[in-house]
């Protein structure tokens, strides 16, 4: 008798729940799919479903998942109404999951979607979203490589005049005539910084000239690894110029890794030793103006160069010559006049032409109401 009563109660509750759900128009989420998230390392599955109709009474969604043959478990928090997808990042690789999206009504009534097919997270070897970027990189690299090897045939490569680099010989000559040293500051970058590597290649060219003129070259370093590389580079430059005896290892030294302590140290060297020429080449931050203004105050000829666009105005204001952005990277080729290096500059210019062409085309298309290039760039993002 008791059992019958219990059954009637359970049936009543079920009927009431279903009745409430139907009275609210609470329908189960439709078109629920679960698939491996594209372009990731296989650590997530994306679940998508159709948006509920307006006035459906749905206040949120709860994602449930099940490992094959296992129990249903809730994943994440209750998602707000209007959500149409969920990325489950708490999965184990190699495990297959099936999902159910549970719609939760305003009166806490719930209705479940159909269970999705099995889905497993797999890592992709290539990020398809980066295809345009990859193609652009390949094209640009090919242009540079083609120009580099074309330059080996002996074709003369025109390089526009860069005043900052034209002045290098003059600056070194001035220091030699005055009998003073040259101070070369590599900035704050580590050896992995491209600007620092570019600066080191300029230093190699400067060292060749100072070796010839036997002018002291002082290089205070911010990074011990950079210091060791620079020592080796300058030593080789002196050896190759036939003046190994003029090389003094003590002139290339570690100062400190701290930004402002480094600035204070370099300023101190400038004020005490009064170098005739100061090179500020590499990666700089807030200390750029502190260094450049001190160099200016001692009357040194200053040649600066950086790819930090925020520091460029300071260098332009305080230094005699400034290599702006890409000129820093062109300096090595410009100073060495090596055909293969000069060839790479032409390749770089091809890249610029390509970009300017794309910008002009994008503007024209956008004005004509065709957003192809904008869409492409947004996809790359």
């Amino acid at each position: 008798m008791i059992k019958t009563t219990q059954w009637i109660a359970v049936c009543l509750i079920l009927c009431l729940s279903v009745g409430t759900a139907f009275s609210q128009g609470l329908s189960p989420p439709s078109n629920v799919t679960a698939m491996d998230t594209p372009n990731d390392n296989g650590s997530s599955i994306t679940i998508t479903w159709d948006a509920a109709a307006e006035g459906s009474g749905i206040s949120g969604y709860q994602i449930l998942r099940r490992i094959a043959g296992g129990e249903l478990e809730a994943v994440g928090d209750l998602l707000p109404a209007g959500t149409m997808n969920y990325v489950d990042s708490a999965i184990e690789k190699g495990t297959t999951y099936a999902y159910i999206v549970r719609a939760v009504g305003e009166t806490e009534a719930t209705v479940d979607s159909e269970q999705t097919g099995p889905a497993e997270g797999t890592g992709e070897w290539f990020h398809t979203g980066k295809t345009p970027l990859f193609i652009a990189m390949l094209l640009f690299s090919a242009a540079i490589v083609w120009n580099i090897y074309n330059a080996r045939s002996g074709k003369e490569v025109f390089v526009r005049r860069i005043p900052g680099l034209e002045a290098v010989d003059e600056a070194i000559g001035r220091a030699t005539e005055m009998g003073r040293s040259i101070l070369y500051v590599l900035g704050l970058g580590g050896v992995s910084g491209v600007a620092t590597v570019a600066s080191m290649t300029i230093l190699a060219q400067v060292a060749r000239r100072t070796a010839d003129y036997e002018t002291p070259l002082r290089v205070p370093c911010n990074d011990p690894i950079v210091m060791n590389v620079v020592r080796e580079m300058v030593k080789t430059a002196y050896l190759e110029e036939g003046h190994p005896d003029a090389y003094n290892e003590e002139n290339i030294f570690f100062l400190t890794e701290d930004q402002f302590a480094y600035a204070a140290g370099v300023d101190g060297i400038m004020v005490r030793e009064k170098p005739a020429t100061v090179f500020l080449q590499g990666s700089f931050a807030a200390e750029s103006l502190i260094l450049a203004e001190t160099g200016n105050s001692i009357g040194a000829i200053q040649i600066a160069g950086t790819d930090s666009e925020h520091q460029l105005p300071f260098f332009i204001a305080a230094c005699d010559y400034t290599l702006i952005g890409e000129e820093l990277y062109a300096a090595s080729a410009y100073l060495s006049k090596e055909p293969m290096l000069l060839g790479s500059l032409r390749g770089q210019d091809w890249g610029k032409v390509l970009i300017f062409g794309a910008i002009a085309l994008g503007v024209i298309l956008e004005l004509s109401g065709i957003p192809w290039i904008t869409t492409l760039l947004q996809r790359v993002n």
């Binding site: 690299s141 570019a198 080191m200 990074d223 011990p224 690894i225 210091m227 402002f260 204001a317």
Partner: protein, 216 residues
């Protein structure tokens, strides 16, 4: 051999690290993480090299009695004090933290605050209206300076109230920063990006080899 091995390693790591940027697979990401981890391992060794060089430099300064050689003792005093407290007790020790917060931080702040005066002296030189370009720079700078302070708009709205635009100072500042300034910056950034790729290709292909001592 001394040159070939670094060049081959540079090529291999350059190409592999480049492709890890296009491959989200856990294998390629683990290679990337591993190589970055190797770079981190080098830091303690670099610190040791740096400390030894620093000591050598200042010992030489003291021995040769170069100008202001006495200050080298301050370097040793600072170095020894921080090592004596930091090594046995760690950087969380109150004495270590006190020295850091009350010596290094104010010294750094002092150097940083010098910028305010240096900007003024550099601006004075840069803004001398001797050429057309310098005059343009001066006018733009004045507009940006005035547009940056609230009184700028007050002056505009009071003195130039007959003009149809309100808050013209801040609007003009915004236009200068958002149009000519931003365009120039983006142009520089594009050039820098291409320069970086070009430099990287030269390094990877071993065409630029002065960083390993130059030569063939």
């Amino acid at each position: 051999m001394k040159r070939q091995v670094p060049l081959v390693l540079c090529f291999l790591f350059g190409v592999v690290m480049c492709f890890t940027q296009f491959s989200p697979h856990s294998f390629s990401q683990s290679i990337y993480d591993e190589v970055v981890y190797w770079a981190l391992i080098m830091s303690p060794f670099a610190l040791a090299v740096g400390t030894i060089t620093l000591i050598q430099t200042h010992v030489i300064r003291i021995r040769r009695r170069t100008e202001h050689w006495q200050y080298s003792f301050v370097v040793f005093a600072g170095l020894l004090t921080m090592v004596a407290i930091g090594l046995p007790f760690g950087p969380q020790h109150p004495a270590f933290a006190w020295l850091f917060n009350n010596v290094q931080v104010p010294l750094d702040a002092t150097m940083f605050s010098l910028l305010a005066f240096l900007i003024a002296s550099a601006a004075f030189r840069a803004f001398r209206a001797r050429t057309f370009e310098a005059s343009l720079l001066l006018i733009s700078a004045m507009i940006v300076l005035i547009g940056n302070v609230p009184v700028g708009d007050l002056i505009w709205n009071t003195v130039l109230s007959w003009l149809p635009w309100d808050n013209g100072a801040s609007e003009a500042r915004q236009w200068i920063l958002g149009n000519p300034n931003l365009s120039a910056r983006r142009g520089i950034i594009l050039g820098v990006s291409l320069g970086v790729i070009s430099q990287a290709i030269r390094l990877i292909l071993g065409i630029e080899r002065s960083y390993i001592g130059g030569g063939d």
